[in-house]
């Protein structure tokens, strides 16, 4: 019973947070709503016993990537008023048409998948600890070893990218504090 209540509440918060996130003019408020949404999603993962995935969502997304987002917003000094009056008519119509089309597409896909009835919500989380720390470790460091090692290369590329960017900005001699 409690499980179901928490599930629906978290699902509602996750979706509501995401909707509010894109409905904001103020980018910082968007980031905050995204954090709320991510936290609710983490609860959902934890309900599925995917403890590691839930923790990952908080540590990497909420704790690192969104901090980076905030830094970018602050660096560019984006505040709500920067987006006032940019709402041209053509743009407004396009965005509604596009999101409408996307929504229809989503509905079609969901209907085709024919998602089973939701009676198995409670039983699903007791079935396995898939997504827990040990199962992830067993898979990641044996079966998916090669993709795992490739991740480090990907991260290395990201480091190089950051370095190149830093150097370019330095050569432009920007003033700063």
């Amino acid at each position: 019973m409690l499980e179901v209540v928490i599930f629906y509440l978290s699902a509602l918060i996750a979706i509501g947070g995401a909707v509010l996130m894109i409905a904001q003019r103020n980018p910082v408020a968007s980031v905050l709503y995204l954090i709320v949404s991510l936290a609710a999603q983490a609860v959902l993962y934890i309900q599925l016993s995917a403890l590691f995935v839930g923790a990952l969502l908080i540590i990497v997304y909420a704790g690192a990537i969104l901090v980076l987002f905030l830094f970018v917003i602050m660096l560019l000094n984006l505040r709500g008023e920067h987006f006032e009056g940019q709402d041209q008519k053509v743009g407004r119509i396009t965005k509604y048409v596009l999101s409408g089309l996307f929504f229809i597409e989503l509905v079609i896909i969901v209907r085709q998948l024919a998602i089973p009835a939701r009676t198995d919500i409670v039983s699903a989380q007791t079935a396995t600890d898939f997504g827990g720390v040990e199962p992830v470790a067993e898979l990641l460091y044996t079966k998916y070893l090669f993709p795992f090692e490739l991740t480090s290369v990907l991260l290395l590329v990201a480091v190089v990218g950051a370095v190149v960017m830093a150097r370019r900005e330095k050569s432009e001699k920007q003033g700063g504090v």
Binding site: I58, F71, M74
Partner: protein, 329 residues
């Protein structure tokens, strides 16, 4: 135990832990002022009550009666939310800290921890990683130059030390093979099996990073009053200011509890009841915090960043690898 009984015990535990944590926060401020006084050959607060013991209450009453003016130049919503976002994660850490052995009351076995998550350490790490938001948002929303600089400085510092913070814990996890804090405590039953002895380098790294994470001296640059007035706190007053303050001390207490649990044997100890041992250890950790503040001068910002990235981070990586190597051999 029935579900209702379970819910009631959980509720009681939550209320007790929150109350004790808040009391701890209040008296940490007293401890800091008294201890700093003693360390500097002063007296510290002594007039409110016997030995000045009522000082935290006097402070709380004072702060709650103060006018809370909001400067015109702030982003109101974020400005109001920031102290809450600072305080809540600090409090949340206490949800997984085991404060004592399992006790039996009226035939019910009750674990003295609110939630024995089997990913306790990851939980602590996740909560720590959220701690940066309160400060960033306070700095950004205040609409003041000092606040912005203080907030951004502080957040960059926190994220720089967070990596070494996580890596230092990994040394212990390697030996322990578990992420559950309760099991970690169980493994440290005898004095010499404390992880502070088995992972001394990790412990030192942890202490340094923890001090930096909580923005305490000598890493208290965001509050460097000589250059930044009060950093991100500049535009705050009354209860919102108090909330930041409580957040800082709650963070210190939380980190001390984590250090106690991971490295110092948690509630384990001879003769005295486990809960008392836990309190004593946390108290000693807090004293070290204050001692450090009284002793060390503040870092310069470039020194701080260099230290984090060029000393602590490689050292933590090395410690992890050496530990793993020793374990294999």
């Amino acid at each position: 135990m029935t579900l209702t009984a379970l819910a009631i015990t959980a509720m009681i535990k939550v209320i007790v832990i929150i109350s004790v944590a808040l009391l701890g926060v209040a008296y940490s401020t007293y401890l800091e002022r008294r201890l700093l006084g003693i360390l500097q050959h002063r007296i510290g607060p002594i007039y409110a009550g016997p030995y000045g013991l009522l000082q935290p209450i006097a402070d709380a009453v004072k702060l709650i009666f103060k006018e809370d003016f909001i400067p015109d130049n702030v982003e109101r919503v974020t400005y109001t939310l920031a102290p809450v976002i600072m305080f809540i994660p600090a409090l949340l850490t206490f949800a997984v800290i085991p404060v004592g052995d399992t006790i039996t009351i009226m035939g019910h076995e009750i674990e003295l921890v609110i939630s024995d998550l089997n990913i306790g350490i990851l939980y602590v790490f996740a909560i720590t990683s959220l701690g940066v938001y309160g400060i960033v948002l306070a700095g950004w929303s205040s609409g003041s130059k000092y606040s912005l600089l203080g907030g951004i400085r502080s957040s960059a510092q926190m994220i720089s030390y967070e990596i070494a913070y996580g890596l230092s814990i990994i040394g212990v996890v390697l030996l322990a093979g578990t992420l559950s804090l309760q099991e970690l405590v169980a493994q440290q039953e005898s004095f010499f099996s404390w992880y502070v002895f088995r992972q001394p380098v990790a412990f030192i790294l942890f202490v340094v990073c923890a001090v930096a994470e909580t923005n305490r001296a000598p890493f208290d640059l965001p509050e460097a009053e000589a250059e930044l007035v009060a950093g991100y706190l500049t535009e705050y007053s009354s209860m919102k200011y108090a909330m930041f303050f409580m957040g800082e001390y709650a963070n210190m207490l939380a980190v001390s509890s984590v250090a106690t649990t991971i490295f110092l044997g948690g509630w384990q100890g001879p003769f005295l009841p486990p809960v008392l041992w836990f309190v004593i250890k946390v108290f000693l950790c807090m004293c070290v915090y204050i001692w450090i503040r009284a002793t060390l001068p503040r870092f310069r910002y470039d020194q701080l960043m260099n230290f984090g990235w060029k000393v602590l981070f490689p050292l933590a990586l090395l410690n992890t690898m050496v530990t793993a190597l020793i374990k294999v051999l």
